[in-house]
Symmetry: C2
Subunit: 210 residues, 2 copies
Amino acid sequence: MEKQLAWISPEKIESRSMEIIEQEMLPGDWTPGELAVVKRCIHTSADFDYASNLYFSPDAVDRGKKALGRGAVIVTDTAMAAAGINKAALEKLGCSVRCFMGEEDVAREARERGITRAIVSMERAAALEGTVIFAVGNAPTALIRLCELIQEEAVCPALIIGVPVGFVNVVESKERLCAMEVPCIVARGRKGGSNIAAAICNALLYQLVR
Amino acid sequence: MEKQLAWISPEKIESRSMEIIEQEMLPGDWTPGELAVVKRCIHTSADFDYASNLYFSPDAVDRGKKALGRGAVIVTDTAMAAAGINKAALEKLGCSVRCFMGEEDVAREARERGITRAIVSMERAAALEGTVIFAVGNAPTALIRLCELIQEEAVCPALIIGVPVGFVNVVESKERLCAMEVPCIVARGRKGGSNIAAAICNALLYQLVR
């Protein structure tokens, strides 16, 4: 076992994977920072659709990187996305991850108001102080509520990663975000997910520390 | 906000999504239990490739369900997959999830032996007592080591979910698993991931409890 596999370091697997991705993907009109995000989404899914469905608002990658350099909090809408973000990289930058979805009082308030926990989670996150990045990989209701909170000037995120996945309300929620003048990275169409949300966060982090 | 979205319960979104998936996917020769797994993989990724790339060994779904009914431990190769498995469903069945990847002594042993943490994690998991399901969504080295441990009769999993994603060693590791006479569910080709590993676990759990 060790003879056969010891020589394949994870770093080498990753760099070889990125070479293969770059060879096989269609060329696009990305900045180097955007290209790193596109490649990492393909790396995490083996799905080359991410070479054509990712939308970047102007300077979204630079704004995200600046926010992470200032020790931003990343708010996710699933524990899974939170688990997928590289903790060592976050720690080096003084950043952290928050997910309100599992908190008991969030569930209670959602029940009482007859709305999703994802909506309540976004409202909780809007009250955070400091620099905040939102990474929504699951719930279109979270993304829609976030758009409303921005329009109400109740929150001003440094960056929104809008990549919920699915078949109902998902495309609409992402198109609404794209139409707003806010810094955002969006997987247009049905695709996305907690893994993609985490991958985009990691692609930004790895441009700063590794 | 509450007027607009309160009526869309998460359960309704999910059942409508499953209807859309069934309408759009190519028909296949699955058992009802297998079909539920296929549909949940598409639900979590919006990627219809999972209607053609999933391999089920004979009775894999029934074996997985029996194991979960006996209170199995699910071992994952990422914290992200572990985070994505429904904890309420696990608890109802007396099941649990373990992931050894983040443990300090696993990292130390991997460094000392010059191998991946994923390999050491599988060796640790092989020493677990009771009924064990392996869900590998990330590391081909984990899957290869697991195949070796089975051949050495060091472990006898109730089910192996073999869905690592990627471009290097991934296809080979999954084909090796498919060629063995063990209960397994495999996403053939490059695709898979921690989200897919969790989705397959949840698809089995939801056939027992919801």
